[in-house]
């Protein structure tokens, strides 16, 4: 069985008691990788997903080469993140002091970042879309057919090559909250739901158009295995907006996208959101989304509880507590022993860490986590 076949069978609850372990949901901050290189890992892991794949023995997984969701500009494929604007804004340094600098980034946002660690979450100082006029300008950079968005110079050859693949391939299908926040600002977006709901509707309608155009173009030539929405629409205390607001503003657009994906034969549709998403899960399921990650433990997410509650309605990915990896081997064993046997026995689960692996996790602990998983739960 190829990795692709195994991935699909696991996702479809057809293959219990085995897992597919990939770089997906095993992302590391650059500082973490720097620490691991100091602790003996090869320096290539700093800049190459392929090197990390090889060194840690992950299975290959890919995403279609089109800029359809937030983009990762970091050296390790992580932050800084920008919205998928084309053309990009010119990076400008406005001021700097010893430790930080204020920039306009390639997504048009004004932010303060640490000079020694640009991957670290910045301080958002200003966002480019404050009103309808700003949006009318900004959305010109969100043309789904902008040539620079399509990263393969020979699309035909790329598609042909992918048809022979033995690994799962996904497509980013955008966002109806997360990306809007990137260009309006977190607080402003929340105000806009009340101050200018029509503008919010307009932005979401455009993102539906953006995503559906990309999906149609990709799926004309490539059969993908899964799709991913990115939202980050929750915090420790629950969703950032009410379920009522989600239903009114976002759900119609979700349904349009998932219906299109289903018509095109894509039945594995994930949403990526940190925080406590428990109130939104039934709405996502109703919208046609059937997979969630990373299931942040610190926000109260519990994959065992979700599996009991939702059965086969939800594919679950992640939920291994990154704090356990920092604590040490006993904590790692306890974490894996508590969750993994049950989750794997039910199928529809991919082990993964519940967010980017922070720098307080040693290489030794991470390797122990992988080894323990493989030795005890490989099936």
């Amino acid at each position: 069985m190829t990795g692709r076949e195994r991935f699909l069978k696991i996702a479809r609850f057809e293959l219990p008691n085995t897992f597919f372990l990939s770089t997906y949901n095993h992302a590391m901050w650059h500082k973490t990788l720097e620490r691991w290189v100091e602790e003996g890992a090869p320096k290539e892991i700093l800049s190459s997903t392929k090197a990390r794949l090889g060194y840690f023995g992950f299975e290959r997984i890919g995403m279609v080469h089109v800029e359809a969701s937030f983009l990762t500009l970091g050296k390790t494929g992580g932050p800084p993140f920008i919205p998928p604007v084309r053309p990009r804004f010119e990076l400008k340094v406005l001021e700097e002091d010893e430790r930080t600098r204020v920039i306009i980034d390639e997504g048009g946002r004004k932010l303060r970042q640490y000079k020694d660690d640009p991957q670290r979450m910045p301080a958002w100082l200003d966002a480019p879309v404050k009103n309808r006029g700003d949006w009318d300008e900004y959305k010109k950079r969100l043309d789904p057919h902008h040539p620079e968005r399509w990263l393969e110079p020979d699309w035909g050859a790329y598609a042909e090559n992918l048809s022979q693949r033995d690994y799962p391939l996904g497509v980013d299908v955008g966002s109806f909250y997360g990306l809007l926040r990137e260009w309006t600002g977190a607080e402003r977006l929340m105000y806009l739901f009340y101050d200018d709901p029509e503008l919010v509707c307009d932005m979401m309608a455009h993102m539906e158009y953006f995503s559906t155009e990309i999906i149609q173009r990709v799926l004309k030539d490539i059969q993908v295995d899964f799709a991913v929405f990115w939202e980050d629409i929750a915090w420790k205390g629950g969703p950032l907006i009410s379920p009522k607001m989600f239903r009114e503003f976002m759900m119609p657009h979700y349904k349009k996208v998932t219906e299109l994906l289903h018509r095109k034969g894509v039945d594995i549709i994930f949403v990526d959101s940190d925080g406590d998403i428990s109130e939104l899960i039934p709405l996502w399921v109703e919208s046609g989304v059937n997979g969630m990650y990373p299931l942040e433990v610190a926000a109260g997410m519990d994959a065992v509880k979700l599996r009991k509650q939702y059965g086969k309605q939800c594919i679950l990915w992640g939920n291994i507590d990154k704090r356990a990896l920092a604590k040490g081997k006993e904590a790692i064993k306890e974490e894996l022993d508590r969750k993994t046997p049950f989750l794997l026995s039910q199928g529809g689960y991919f082990p993964g860490i519940d967010h980017f692996i922070p720098e307080d996790v040693s290489l030794e602990n991470f390797q122990f986590y992988l080894d323990y998983l493989r030795e005890h739960f490989a099936g």
């Binding site: 930080t100 910045p122 929340m190 205390g237 969703p239």
Partner: protein, 215 residues
């Protein structure tokens, strides 16, 4: 027609009607309603109502933000009258996001809601070092310090705030509360802060408790 200004202000805050809160507050002042009463039974009560709805799971962050914006607008109108009448803020809070961390939305929510509930808040911003917190305690003489931390890698800087205050004998004179995604009640007890708040309304309850007031 008699207008129940206080009830109208409460409703307007709940509905996030910023300019209506400002108008009603001004009219109520013009009608002779005392500033303290407007503050307690209008603005603070309005924020309490939103806080109750938040606990019930009816109000979420956008509803809190628009309510806090409305309440703070009312406060702007009320401020001269409050100062004149000698009504003091319920307490003084220095707030900041801990060194190494540039997140501010959680801190801002706490600030807005504390202000809306009658507390004076001095916002130090983000990436605030122990030395800066210390400086602020020396200069502002707050009743409490509220520290926000989102990351597991930056919450470890919180103990140094306590140490720095301890070294100069200031720790005993100020209460410290913490909050943020990476923090827990257990951690708060472990490092020796006075309280951990799960959300912005708990922060208000904690602040009231610190000040020995119930509203």
């Amino acid at each position: 027609m008699e207008v129940d200004y206080l009830e109208s202000i409460v409703t307007a805050i709940d509905e996030g009607e910023t300019e209506q809160v400002a108008e009603l507050t001004q009219k109520a002042l013009d009608e002779g309603i005392p500033a303290k009463e407007l503050m307690e039974r209008g603005l603070v009560r309005g924020m309490e109502k939103v806080g109750e709805k938040f606990k019930e799971g009816v109000a979420y962050l956008p509803e809190i933000l628009i309510a806090a914006r409305a309440a703070n607008r009312g406060l702007e109108v009320l401020k001269p009258a409050i100062t004149k009448s000698g009504v003091k803020p319920k307490g003084k809070v220095v707030i900041g996001t801990i060194e190494g961390d540039l997140h501010d939305i959680g801190k801002n929510m706490v600030k807005f809601v504390l202000q809306g509930n009658g507390f004076e808040v001095i916002d130090l911003g983000v990436d605030v070092s122990a030395a800066q917190f210390h400086q602020a305690v020396v200069e502002e003489k707050p009743d409490m310090v509220a520290i926000s931390a989102l990351l597991t890698t930056t919450m470890v800087n919180i103990p140094s705030v306590l140490e720095t205050l301890g070294k100069t004998g200031l720790r005993g004179g100020v209460k410290i509360m913490v909050g943020g995604a990476s923090l827990t009640e257990e951690y708060a007890q472990e490092v020796g802060v006075d309280a951990y708040g799960e959300d912005c309304f708990q922060a208000v309850e904690i602040a009231r408790r610190f000040m020995g007031v119930t509203s």
